[in-house]
């Protein structure tokens, strides 16, 4: 029996067994969301900060379904289009219950949802100085990834493709270059469409993946949650096992000696 890797995912001095981070948006209901998280094995989930519904207090609360003592909440800034909004959102998130590990996401365009990197860089620097541990959603640009690292990001989270697009990893070369240049946790965030995309991310040497839509909007979200769990494990194991060289021509698997 081969012993599987025991090295944990380390983010800002916290250790996690699972390398799959899942989002909590877009599910049919809270029950389905909680069940999918449990089946995915994820130990970190992203959450959004929004106004409390004052008039309808019977609406189910996220915290009633997903216990923040058992699952690490990663507050995000989804829907923020500049540094000011993002900072305000994360300062509020910290106030809810002391959250310091956060996901920064500053968007620049309402249609393609690409990150606004100038504002993202600025926000990363400010938040880090304020004591936040900032996991940064970014484009797949190695130079920008380096700059984020230099201003104190605790994890680099490049997109695979536009958020919710399901296109999979569009620029594997850039992801590999980012992997080569950084020792920070590298997590693919956004754009994955199916479980095999997560395997590819892990085989490129990423430390983890973050998935929301591909699970929540699959025809069978619970089954897809399991598929992603297995895909991440498979990809990680494959990466650590060391793949064979690629060859242009065929190489027979059976010995050529003794052919009758």
């Amino acid at each position: 029996m081969v012993k599987l890797e025991t090295k944990k995912l380390r983010i800002a001095n916290r250790k996690f067994n699972s390398r799959l981070i899942v989002g909590t948006g877009k599910y049919k209901n809270m029950r389905e969301c909680a069940k999918a998280i449990s089946l995915s094995g994820a130990e970190i989930v992203t959450v959004a900060v929004r106004r409390v519904n004052i008039s309808d207090k019977k609406k189910p609360l996220l915290m009633d379904y997903i216990d923040p003592k058992k699952i690490t909440y990663l507050p995000n800034t989804a829907g923020c289009f500049n540094s000011k909004e993002a900072l305000r959102t994360l300062r509020l998130a910290r106030e809810i219950g002391g959250w310091k590990l956060v996901k920064l996401e500053v968007l620049g365009d309402k249609k393609n949802l690409f990150p606004e990197m100038i504002e993202t860089l600025k926000s990363t620097e400010i938040l880090t100085k304020e004591g936040f541990n900032v996991m940064v959603y970014c484009n797949d640009d190695p130079l920008m990834a380096k700059r984020l690292e230099n201003v104190g990001a605790c994890a680099i989270m490049p997109l695979a493709a536009p958020i919710g697009s399901g296109l999979g990893i569009l620029n594997k070369v850039n992801i590999k270059i980012i992997r080569k240049q950084t020792k920070l946790p590298l997590i693919i965030d956004a754009g994955l469409g199916q479980a095999s995309d997560a395997t590819i991310a892990m085989e490129l040497g990423c430390d983890g993946v973050l998935v929301n839509t591909a699970i929540a909007k699959a025809k069978k979200p619970l089954d897809m949650a399991v598929a992603f769990k297995n895909a991440v494990i498979a990809g990680r194991q494959s990466y650590l096992s060391g793949r064979i060289q690629k060859n242009l021509m065929g190489k027979a698997s059976s010995p050529t000696d003794g052919i009758i």
Binding site: T24, G25, Y27, V52, I54, E95, I96, I163
Partner: protein
């Protein structure tokens, strides 16, 4: 009995009529807000939840009460 003066404030973007000098702690209790699960902003400044009993509301104050919901 002396009539209590009412003032207009905004809570999460909606206008509300409340008693003048109402403390924010009392307002949140009246609204049945679970304090442990929210953060509160008064005129764009985050309030320390320990001090809610000290803050009196004034005319045109803007309160934001936020919590976590599902997101990606």
């Amino acid at each position: 009995m002396k009539k209590i003066k009412k003032i207009k404030i905004k809570i999460n973007g909606k206008t509300n009529l409340i008693d003048k000098d109402l403390k924010i702690q009392k307002l949140l209790t009246n609204l049945k807000i679970p304090l442990k699960k929210v953060a509160i902003e008064l005129n764009q400044e985050i309030l320390d939840k320990k001090n809610l009993n000290k803050v009196k509301l004034k005319k045109n104050d803007k309160i934001e009460i936020v919590h976590f919901i599902g997101g990606g």
